[in-house]
């Protein structure tokens, strides 16, 4: 057994040393996901809602009517009202800098674009304010209580997705690039000419990948928990299991992508071809529920979708591994099938 383990350990160490001695590897594995998290966290931080801009159109000669409607609406919370000449008001609406234009008269006319979310809100708020100012009474007392729950913010959605994307990227690039590089510089051939076992060689990549996985996940998740208060509602053990399965799944996929390629250019193209659809479809930056229902079975079957679902399930919903059996099984299946095919078609020399 030691006879098998010693070369395995030396190969793994060699791989880790070569990686850790390259500053660019450290950047992509550790610094890049953090920078992305900070940038997106700042861009999408939760802010109090800004007021909706509307205009009151003053037709030539009826400035007074416009001013009186403007006065009725002034002071309404969440509305910013401007009285403008009719032509200018129409132009602002077209440009999108006001959400709605009020044309005084009988009836009062609201001009707005029904496809714009802020216009729909403006229609409701403006009409409510106008009717109240003219004497309409509420028939039932109501009270508002706004909530801002941890776990439902954009940053909470984002962090597990970033982690999934990161596991995909380092798994695929880490293995794919290294395999093709070793093939290209004849290192692989030279190693094969020694009594090294092929399984030792491939396993060393997997072990080196797992060795970097721990720090990589801890840096991103630790930062997200401390800086943004992103929750970890499920068990850490379950989270670790999902992360390891995800890393192995993409290591298998990386090996498959690199199994035949002779040049770095070729493997780069293949990698992007495999990863690009998942960046878009698999719910990294926005929910994959936005895509049409017909696409959902396909999207659900992608390994990154499954991994992101599982990571979000554990972190945000506190789901158990048993509850996540579906997505976890998808990851395992991708990993096993990729590895099996990769070993079958692998170009050793």
């Amino acid at each position: 057994m030691g006879e098998y383990l010693r070369p395995l350990m030396e190969l793994t160490l060699a791989r880790l040393r070569e990686q850790l001695r390259q500053p660019e590897v450290l950047f992509w594995v550790f610094a890049f996901p953090l920078l992305l998290a900070v940038a997106l966290g700042v861009a999408f931080r939760n802010r109090p809602p800004s007021p909706i801009r509307i205009a009151v159109a003053a037709e030539p000669g009826s400035r007074a009517a416009a001013d009186s409607v403007g006065a009725l609406l002034a002071g309404t919370p969440r509305l910013a009202v401007a009285v403008l000449p009719a032509s200018q008001a129409a132009e602002r609406l077209r440009q999108g800098s006001v959400a709605l234009v009020v044309v005084p008269g009988n009836p009062v006319v609201y001009r707005w674009d029904s496809t714009r979310a802020d216009s729909r809100t403006a229609r409701l708020v403006t009409d409510d304010a106008l009717q109240s100012a003219l004497g309409r009474k509420s028939v039932r007392a109501v009270a508002d209580r706004t909530v801002m729950a941890r776990g439902s913010r954009y940053i909470d959605f984002l962090i597990p997705g970033l982690l999934g994307m990161d596991l995909m990227g380092t798994g695929m690039w880490g293995l794919g690039y290294a395999v093709v590089d070793a093939r290209k510089r004849r290192l692989m051939k030279r190693l094969l000419a020694s009594p090294m076992r092929r399984s030792q060689y491939l396993l060393s990549f997997v072990l080196a990948r797992l060795a970097l996985l721990g720090p990589e996940v801890m840096v991103l998740i630790g930062f997200a928990m401390l800086a943004f208060g992103v929750p970890m509602r499920g068990s850490l053990a379950g989270f670790a299991v999902v992360a390891v399965i995800g890393a192995l799944c993409f290591a298998g996929l990386g090996l498959l992508t690199a199994s035949r390629a002779r040049t770095v250019e070729m493997v780069s193209g293949l990698m992007n071809l495999v990863m690009m659809p998942m960046w878009v479809l698999s719910g990294v930056f926005f929910s994959s529920a936005n895509f049409p229902a017909a696409m959902q079975p396909f999207i659900k079957a992608l390994p990154l979708t499954a991994l992101n679902d599982a990571l979000r399930g554990i972190m945000l919903d506190g789901a158990s591994l048993a509850a996540l059996a579906g997505p976890v099984a998808i990851c395992v299946a991708w990993g096993v099938v990729s590895l099996a095919v990769a070993l079958k078609i692998f170009r050793w020399v």
């Binding site: 010693r6 070369p7 030396e10 001695r21 004849r186 290192l187 094969l192 020694s194 009594p195």
Partner: protein, 314 residues
């Protein structure tokens, strides 16, 4: 002769390797004796590397049979690999690993062998032990490749163009390492297109071209097969009618003549008899000589006489 000495370390018969429509090796028979240094000499594209990679078990022959140390690919693969040392052409073993780390890695593959310290001493890289491989010179990298090949104390060492691209001093260092290995009883198969390398290191040489062996024997035997020990090369100025080959072969002591435009190349038994005859002939014709060189015949001359081409055509 003791019975041990006649057991071949390597025997291959009818070796063929085709790549699409190119036949890289076209039916090769070869026997390498235990303890000898065997050279495959030939120009680029002669099939040397393909031959060696088939012997190393890195390429499968399309036809033919290979037996090494009484074993065969692929059924004895692991046992064979433990007894072979290999240095391929142009291999980048590592970038940011130290010399010691690379050697420890390769040592770990073999059940027995040198310690890292011992093999560092063998290739004289002790001072570079903690240097990253990417910082080594070409000669130092090649010695590291040799160290990796030697660290498992192999019985047979395969070296594919071990000194290509090295400066003369680094080349001599590599030769010294290889010579020490054969003095210790090891068998070496090397490929080269440097005739000097083959003459210095090899007990026997196979001259290869287009996937076939053109001549086989010790460097001395091969040169002797030219039938002449010396080569006279000269060039003539234009103008007067140049002598034809038949006239030159008729001169005393001249064995063969090859002409390439104004340049001539004669293999001769004795320079001191051939040159006066040549000069007399040229004087009678009134032809002026622009260059005259004589040297001992080498494997380069043999290759030229076998193929009409130089070993290292551009």
């Amino acid at each position: 002769m003791s019975p041990v000495a006649v057991v071949p370390a390597i025997r291959c018969t009818g070796l063929v390797k085709r790549y699409r429509d190119v036949t890289a090796v076209a039916g090769l028979d070869l026997e390498v004796r235990a303890g000898e240094c065997f050279g495959l000499l030939g120009p680029n594209g002669a099939g040397k590397t393909t031959t060696v990679e088939m012997l190393e078990g890195l390429a499968a022959p399309d036809d033919g049979d290979i037996e090494i140390l009484g074993m065969r690919w692929p059924e004895h693969e692991h046992a064979l690999r433990e007894r072979l040392g290999v240095a391929l052409q142009e291999t980048r073993l590592a970038d940011r690993l130290t010399v010691t780390e690379v050697l420890r890695l390769f040592r770990s593959f073999y059940p027995r062998g040198h310690t890292v310290e011992e093999v560092l001493a063998v290739v004289a890289l002790e001072e570079k032990r903690d240097a990253w491989v990417e910082k080594l010179s070409g000669g130092q990298r090649q010695r590291l490749a040799l160290a990796c090949a030697l660290v498992g104390t192999p019985d047979v060492l395969f070296l594919d163009e071990p000194t290509t691209g090295l400066d003369p001093q680094s080349r001599r260092q590599v030769w010294e390492i290889v010579a020490r290995f054969t003095r210790g009883g090891g068998t070496v198969v090397l490929t080269t297109h440097y005739m000097e390398e083959a003459e210095r290191l090899c007990d026997r040489v196979a001259v290869m071209d287009h996937g076939r062996i053109l001549a086989l024997g010790s460097p001395r035997e091969l040169i002797a097969s030219l039938g002449a020990d010396e080569v006279v090369e000269f060039a003539l100025a234009g103008g007067a009618p140049a002598p034809v080959e038949a006239e030159l072969v008729a001169l005393a002591g001249v064995r063969a003549v090859r002409r390439d435009g104004p340049r001539y190349r004669m293999t001769v038994d004795e320079v001191h008899r051939a040159v006066p005859g040549l000069l007399a002939l040229l004087q009678r014709r009134g032809v002026e000589m622009t260059e005259l060189v004589t040297h001992h015949a080498t494997l380069e001359d043999l290759f030229l006489s076998l193929t009409g081409r130089h070993l290292r055509d551009a």
